[in-house]
Assembly symmetry: C2
């Protein structure tokens, strides 16, 4: 683990950007942030953990929605400031109920939706 951690360049807030990509279809699902502990916990458990900047705490992807991510492969880029996580995403990655967070395409001066809502977001976060 230390071999990896010393190659990661955490930013001034102690975070590193992490792109999640579905391992088989190669869909880019989302981008989130990890702190050192999230990296360690993800590698130790195989469940993907991130760090929420707005809530200022770690969270397991899917902990409240059930839409979890299992780690398949952990990659790091040339300068160590971005991670690429190949994952197996259960259901939808986006809190809007879509598979990918990148569901808007800018074309001809307009933003158009490029994928459907698969799950009613109100049903993703039942108390």
């Amino acid at each position: 683990m230390e071999t990896l951690l010393k190659e990661i360049t955490f930013n001034a807030d102690g975070l590193v950007a992490a792109i999640a990509q579905q391992f088989d279809t190669k869909e880019v699902l989302m981008l989130a942030w990890m702190n050192r502990e999230a990296v360690e916990k993800t590698l130790a458990t195989g469940d993907v953990w991130y760090f929420s900047r707005s809530r200022n705490k770690m969270w397991q992807k899917g902990e409240s929605s059930g839409q979890t991510q299992k780690l398949v492969e952990f990659q790091i880029d040339c300068d160590g400031d971005t991670l690429l996580l190949l994952v197996d995403q259960k259901g939808v990655a986006c809190h809007t109920g879509r598979r990918q967070c990148f569901f808007r395409t800018f074309k001809n001066g307009k933003l158009i939706e490029n994928q459907p809502v698969q799950v009613d977001p109100d049903k993703l976060y039942l108390a």
Copy 2:
């Protein structure tokens, strides 16, 4: 253009993260940053421009190496703080001469290279 720009959440430094993905093979090539002007110039020209945090200026991908990126599709995520650029990457995206910047995989406690050097990096940046 304003329709898009008002949806982008630039950070305190005026930047937004941009993931570049090869449009047909779906390889994730790199992550870099764009300022407002880089977004505008990319959409206006079809050549991908980024903002270098270390050099504090805009740069066109491939301007010195010849390994340019042509924009195919411009996507934005749910909360507007990450872009996904579907591009056509000429040659290699990484300054190390590899196709993708994510050329290291962490496995069994070690970092292993997951792709070969395709171009001698010394030949990428001839003066």
